[in-house]
């Protein structure tokens, strides 16, 4: 009891949640009332996680702290249904339910609902996302397509990073970390309130470290490696204009350097973002107007230095309302303009505009039974400005093309009893080709040409799933299980089509490659006792069958059956003893096939053997505001090959956090 009170007191000191009226969702106050996390990532309306019509995992700030990790992918890596692999110190990759690719274009990552996707490659540059671990309230992981709410690229799933709200919460913290690989890392978060109606949260962070040892990496893949670093800054302000109107303005910037030796691509990226949002409680419902601009500068520093700039402007409008006692609706419109230019496009610009309209209907059929249906139609128009290189055989009219995409999410949630919940879901989502896939035109020395394909079709992902959750009330434990079947039609890959001869040049062109089916099972058990003891264990199984068109060479973009580990077991144990926290998490996964680029041979297969890895963290609260942490990542091995790249070295991290 004393421990509980102390913890509660600490939380009150560091993070006082202000009950306030909200046009935006006041996560803290709602969670306080309903005694469980609240999410909007399933349907766009606030819901208790236990009632969301999707398969969702929530990582809380407590989970983040206890992981001892210094980056988001490391926090998430032991979650059931997620595949994790690291190419180099600053290049972790996450995928949901397999289909991992370098620059994973199937996963949509958001910060408070704003995509932080790098649109040119279709990639998540984790280190450049302008958010610090200390300012995160929760990370919501939706498994399965959710395009009917979020549009293109919510194909395998969505990760929404929800930060503390500057208007309702006070998050103030400074964290310093050091450790092996000459790690030097720091972050700061501060919140300022001006009266009761204005709140501003500022955050900044940066890190620098040595790259992992490259002894086992072929020399041609280890040329010109960069010193891993990142730096980010963000400011988020919110103003309660009237009791019914709220306005927010946010700006951020990030920069990072990473290595990807498997494909000879050291990379130096920069991003800037600005977002403004107006939310109002009106007679027709909760109206939300949201605009953001994301700018990315991508500097590819491989054998051929290339640069691209991508600018995405996005405007969204939505209205959330209730009709009668048991029906909620959300209607939405979105317009996005995305253009890219630079050396990847030989100085030209390719772009697309998308217009989207969609709706969601949530019907509480009976006590404990709800049905949610969401539908969205996207129309995309592709275009090109500048000169199409004559050697490509294409003309500007090749880019005068459009496509339509109809996505849906449907979910029935049935609380069979107080302890049993069943979810049945069907979804159709889309993975959009990136601007690089669609429009790159790069003459490569030696008479070859890397070429985009404007006629490339998006991958259509169809997912059917049945989930069953059981709460063991007396044991304080929960069982979560899922069975799913997924079909991916129209898979495509960067430079992945059948090479062909065009004049003197051999052309490597993006292409649709075929289809693939996946069947999977996930089972997870989790428990936390009042005595401070906690544990979890989970198992996931996935089997994939590829139907790749004839003539397509096996490679990183076309061999999903082999490149997804079939079996993964995650486990964790922890104990809180007064001011101490002890936690360990681990994973065993079966072997999979990866590919390493070779200039002469193309993609060379490399088998990544099955392995077990485990992290441990000890935290000590010196005072209510000061805590120390010691984390050892990869306890079991000094070096571990997680993909056909640089072996990951063991890391030891020492941290100090001051909250005020």
């Amino acid at each position: 009891m004393r421990r509980y009170l102390t913890t509660t007191a600490c939380a009150a000191v560091f993070l006082s949640t202000v009950p306030a009226l909200a046009q935006t969702v006041n996560y803290g106050s709602l969670e306080d009332v309903f005694s469980e996390p609240v999410t909007t990532s399933a349907t766009g309306k606030p819901q208790k996680v236990s009632e969301a019509p999707v398969n969702m995992e929530i990582i809380t700030q407590d989970d983040i702290r206890r992981s001892g990790a210094d980056n988001i992918p490391d926090v998430l890596q032991f979650l059931v249904g997620l595949d994790f692999r690291r190419s180099s110190f600053n290049d972790p990759e996450l995928s949901i339910r397999g289909y991992d690719q370098p620059w994973n274009p199937r996963l949509l990552v958001l910060v408070n609902g704003r995509p932080v996707y790098e649109d040119f490659y279709g990639d998540v540059v984790w280190a450049a996302i302008p958010v610090q671990l200390d300012e995160i309230r929760q990370i919501e992981v939706v498994k399965g397509p959710n395009s009917a709410l979020f549009g293109f690229n919510a194909a395998s799933g969505v990760i929404n990073i929800v930060t503390y709200d500057p208007l309702y919460d006070r998050a103030n913290a400074v964290t310093l970390r050091t450790g092996t690989q000459a790690l030097r890392e720091g972050s700061a978060v501060a919140t300022v309130h001006i009266g009761d109606t204005i709140g501003v949260r500022m955050s900044a962070g940066g890190m620098e470290a040595d790259e992992f040892k490259v002894n086992d990496v072929p020399a041609e893949n280890a040329v010109g490696l960069l010193h891993p670093m990142s730096g980010t800054f963000n400011i988020d302000g919110r103003w309660q204009v009237t009791p019914d109107v709220q306005f927010s303005l946010e700006g951020g910037a990030g920069t990072m350097k990473r290595n990807f030796p498997a494909d000879e691509t050291p990379e130096y990226d920069k991003t800037d973002t600005i977002r403004s949002r107006l939310s109002a409680n009106t007679g027709i419902g909760l109206v939300d107007l949201d605009f953001y601009r994301n700018v990315w500068q991508i500097n590819y520093l491989g054998s051929q230095a290339q640069h691209a700039t991508d600018i995405a402007d996005d405007f969204r409008a939505s209205d959330l309302f209730k009709i009668g006692l048991s029906n909620s609706f959300r209607i939405g419109f979105e317009y996005k303009y995305n253009e890219a230019y630079g050396e990847f496009l030989s100085g030209s610009t390719d772009y697309y505009s998308t217009y989207s309209i969609g709706g969601m209907w949530n019907w509480d059929i009976a006590p404990g039974v709800s049905l949610t249906n969401a539908l969205r139609e996207d129309y995309l128009q592709l275009g090109f400005k500048g000169m199409v290189l004559p050697i490509t055989g294409q003309t500007a009219s090749s880019y005068d093309t459009s496509l339509n995409a109809l996505s849906f999410n449907s979910g029935l949630v049935y609380s069979v009893s107080d302890e049993d919940v069943v979810r049945l879901m069907a979804a159709r989502g889309f993975q959009l080709p990136s601007l690089d896939d669609l429009g790159q035109q790069i003459p490569v020395p030696g008479n070859s040409l890397d070429l985009g394909q404007p006629a490339l079709k998006p991958t259509v992902v169809l997912n059917f799933e049945a989930d069953y959750d059981h709460t063991f009330t007396r044991l304080g434990a929960t069982l979560r299980s899922a069975v799913f079947r997924q079909n991916n039609n129209g898979l495509f890959g960067y430079d992945a089509g059948v090479p062909y001869q065009l004049g003197v040049n051999t052309v490597y062109q993006s292409a649709n490659l075929g289809s693939s089916d996946e069947t999977g099972v996930e089972i997870a058990l989790k428990s936390a006792s009042r005595a401070g003891f906690r544990w979890n264990v989970s198992y996931s199984y996935a089997t994939i069958t590829d139907h790749i068109d004839s003539g397509i060479a096996a490679g990183v973009y076309s061999t999903y059956a082999g490149s997804t580990p079939q079996n993964i077991v995650d486990f964790g144990i922890g104990y809180t003893l007064d001011r101490w926290e002890f936690d360990a998490q681990g994973r065993w996964q079966s072997k999979f096939l990866d590919y390493r680029f070779n200039a002469a041979l193309g993609y060379v297969p490399v088998t990544i053997a099955n392995y077990v890895t485990a992290n441990a963290h000890v935290g000590f609260r010196v005072t209510d505001g000061v805590s120390l942490g010691l984390t050892v990542e990869q306890l079991e091995a000094e070096h571990l090959l997680e993909r056909a790249s640089i072996p990951v070295d063991r890391r030891i991290i020492v941290s100090t956090t001051v909250k005020f």
């Binding site: 009950p19 935006t24 306080d32 819901q47 959330l320 209730k322 048991s326 909620s328 509480d364």
Partner: protein, 159 residues
Amino acid sequence: MMRTLLAFVTLVFMAGLAGSAEASAPANVDPKWVLIVAKALDFVTRKPVPPAKVIVVGDAADLAVARSSFGKMEVAAGTVGDAAGAFAIIVNTPEEARAAHAANANVAIIGNNEPCVEVGACLIAVETQPKVSIYVSRAAALAAGIEFDPNFKMMITEK
């Protein structure tokens, strides 16, 4: 032997009767639901003008629970007839809820009884096990002039 068995059965039966009599007696309010109700009322869009008053129909223990939960409001003990001008009245039984509703149509009546919400007599009821569920009567809210935050309304069951 038979007499001993009969005596034992009689004792068990009497103990059962005593237990059921105890169960039907008015119980004290559950601190957990009172706390959740107090937090839920923070989502009222037009806050009551201080000093807003909450009347508790119950004993000293109920009063103490309400005072610790409704920290910002003036909490006093009273009867169902004392709630005129109060923001809310907390009752323990459906009978008290019905009586309070008859006496004070424009006061938020808080009785932890879902059927009471169903018929529009009580404003709010809360289930705390195994998950928190909140039931709100639209009719009672309208009568009391109470409107809830729209995001909060998306997460409750309206009757």
